[in-house]
């Protein structure tokens, strides 16, 4: 799913790149005139990118208004999550006031209380901790497995590649959320198992992406040079190829966090979350029963999810715009 999102986002950027070239001084293709070297926008810009390194990409990212909005949103959520124990000390699952206080009814509980008299705002702020922890940790697990498998498959090729590709295919054929439900149900739900299960169902996508990058980069001059110098596989994989394969993986990882947050929410909505921790999904699940009378209990935690996921998707789009010209150019 995430793979597709980033590939969708990738293509319009290519379109934009082409239209920029039309406006540049040399509107025709350089192929027209093989005898003369007309200035070639492509080679020039990619050379510039290499020189300026990542700083240029960071600048592009930071001048993208959407990315800034996303980053601001996300920082807000992260700060709230970190500050949760100080802002709302005590267990958010404790009853603190009269049940079904509507938002704004009691200034002590600005977002009201639920059917058990628990503070909704405290729940949402503490829920951010679970969502972010699971989202980030699951992504790290998925990235680690995925990069390892993808790197091995893409770097070595041959039989190893065939076998690993088949493995990836098997995992991508299994409907991932159904597999997730099975895994969590078998392992008994808690924060650790949910995180690991999400990591297990997301790695194939990373592996696929990494493998494609490795296969492309494997044949590049600097890798061949490193090989001819007799460097070991580990060094070539981690020092020569991986850094160059990272941009698309970085873009994907941001969408993966968003996806993991959505999956965790869906799991705990279905009652497959950690029963001892408050989570946005479980708050929605609890609010669902009283949606006719107290719909804010369903709406508010949902808004928190939407808010966080949108910010991650905005960041991913921004990253894509900033990092993509580089790797799309190199692929040609």
């Amino acid at each position: 799913m995430t793979l597709t999102q980033s590939s969708i986002a990738r293509s319009p950027r290519l379109g934009a790149l082409q239209s920029d070239e039309v406006e540049a001084a040399t509107p025709e293709q350089s192929k027209d005139w093989p005898f003369l070297h007309a200035p070639d926008a492509l080679t020039q810009s990619s050379a510039a990118v290499t020189k300026a390194g990542l700083r240029r990409e960071l600048r592009i990212f930071l001048t993208n208004p959407n990315a800034i909005i996303g980053l601001t949103f996300l920082v807000t959520v992260v700060v709230l999550a970190l500050a949760a124990p100080y802002l709302f000390p005590g267990d958010p699952l404790e009853m603190v006031a009269r049940p079904f206080l509507w938002p704004g009814q009691n200034p002590d509980y600005p977002l009201g209380t639920d059917s058990m008299g628990r503070d909704v705002l405290a729940g949402i702020v503490h829920g951010a901790r679970i969502s972010l922890t699971v989202g980030i940790a699951a992504t790290l697990i998925g990235l680690t497995i995925g990069i390892l498998v993808g790197a091995i498959a893409g770097y070595f090729g041959g039989l190893v590649d065939d076998v690993l590709v088949k493995l990836i295919e098997i995992f991508q054929t299994l409907p991932s959320f159904v597999l997730l439900v099975v895994l969590v149900a078998i392992a008994q739900p808690n924060v650790l198992t949910v995180t690991c299960a999400i990591g297990i169902i997301t790695w194939p996508m990373v592996a696929r992406l990494t493998r494609a990058e490795f296969r492309a980069i494997r044949e590049k001059d600097y890798v061949l040079a490193a090989r001819s110098l007799g460097y070991g596989h580990v060094r070539i994989v981690f020092r020569e190829i991986l850094p160059n394969a990272l941009p698309p993986i970085i873009v994907t990882s941001s969408v993966m966090v968003a996806g993991a947050i959505l999956m965790e929410a869906a799991l705990s909505f279905m009652g497959l979350g950690d029963p001892n921790r408050v989570s946005w999904g479980s708050m929605i699940g609890a609010g669902r029963d009283v949606i006719r009378t107290a719909w804010y209990l369903t709406a508010l935690p949902g808004l928190a999810i939407v808010f966080t996921v949108i910010s991650l998707n905005l960041i991913s789009d921004g990253l894509n715009d900033a990092l993509n010209p580089r790797f799309s150019e190199e692929r040609r």
Binding site: V22, E23, A25, T26, P27, S30, K31, W33, P34, P39
Partner: protein, 332 residues
């Protein structure tokens, strides 16, 4: 005889840059006019301008009179009636210029049915006839082939069949043979040459291959940085290039003039590249011109009639031209 096509001071601008800066030329029925220039000379943009296919944000100036009517002043609707019927166009890449998901027959029939009242059966018969006209063997069978089943030369023949399907008065061939093998190239040009005679159709051949120009064109026009710098009959232009750029193209350095012939060897590179089209004052070729002088930086040199049927835009006359110009001015 009135010209079929009369272009007056035609210009194309994208924002501040102006890749075509006021070009004038004419084309007569049955004539083959070659436009020569390197990447960025504005020749392809001029061609696209002739058929009204410039990008939407391009600003055009001047006039394109086709059978006395100013094409630039007409609506998009009127353009569609002219494209494919009165003016046909063939593009450079036969590999990508045909729609991959439609059979070649469908693509020929499409243009016929847009512009002429034909039923399906008639249109199909015409498509077969056209494929025969462009010398495709087994036309009746080939008409149901998809483009990927044909070779590059065959595809370009199909493109020509589409281009001449409605007996256009003008056919524009933008680097139509560049992507083909030399032998195929000659066949295609022979085909174009026959067709223009049979159909009394003007052909504008846009190319960088001077050998083709010398062999097939009736008249040649050299463009540099959005301007016409020289025009005349191919033989005199190539044996006695007037403009330093034309000389550069032909690889005829002043001293080698006597022995070296443009067909003898590959073209040499002219040092430097086309300067930015936003441009400085003066002659655009000055930075690369071996015989540039201080005065070249003051103003853009005007086109002068330097002999009968001969125009050039350089104020400095190669010595051997002095007597000819004298003769010409005496005669006029």
């Amino acid at each position: 005889m009135t010209a079929l096509l009369e272009v007056r001071d035609f210009s194309v601008a994208f924002g501040a840059s102006q890749p075509v800066k006021g070009v004038s030329f004419t084309a007569n029925p049955g004539e083959m006019l070659a436009i020569v220039g390197e990447s960025g000379s504005g020749k392809s943009l001029t061609a696209l301008g002739l058929i009204g296919l410039l990008p939407r944000h391009a600003k055009t100036g001047g006039e394109i009179r086709f059978e006395g009517r100013n094409l630039l002043a007409q609506s998009e609707r009127d353009w569609r009636r002219i494209r494919g019927r009165d003016i046909g166009m063939i593009f450079q890449e036969p590999m990508t210029s045909l729609n991959p998901v439609l059979t070649v027959g469908e693509q020929i029939i499409e243009v016929l049915r847009i512009h002429e009242r034909l039923d399906r059966k008639q249109a199909r018969q015409r498509a077969v006839d056209l494929l025969e006209l462009v010398n495709i063997p087994e036309a009746r069978k080939r008409v149901d082939d998809y483009p990927h089943q044909l070779s590059g030369g065959m595809r370009q023949r199909v493109m020509i069949a589409i281009g001449v399907a409605c007996n256009p008065k003008l056919l524009i061939a933008d680097e139509a043979t560049t992507a083909l093998d030399v032998t195929i190239q000659a066949q295609i040009l022979q085909l174009l040459d026959n067709l223009r005679r049979d159909l009394n159709m003007a052909v504008i051949l846009i190319t960088h291959d001077l050998g083709i120009v010398a062999q097939w064109a009736d008249r040649v026009m050299v463009m540099y940085a959005g301007r016409k710098v020289e025009e005349g009959l191919p033989e005199p232009v190539f044996t006695d290039p007037y403009h330093p750029y034309t000389r550069g193209l032909l690889g005829a350095s002043p001293r080698a003039e006597s022995g070296h012939h443009y067909r003898d060897g590959p073209l040499i590179e002219i040092p430097g590249s086309i300067v930015s089209a936003t441009g400085e004052k003066g002659c655009a070729f000055r930075p690369r011109c071996p015989s540039a002088q201080a005065s070249c930086g003051f103003a853009v040199p005007a086109l002068r009639q330097i002999a009968e049927d001969r125009l050039a835009a350089c104020p400095f006359t190669p010595t051997r031209f002095v007597s000819q110009i004298h003769d010409a001015s005496l005669r006029s």
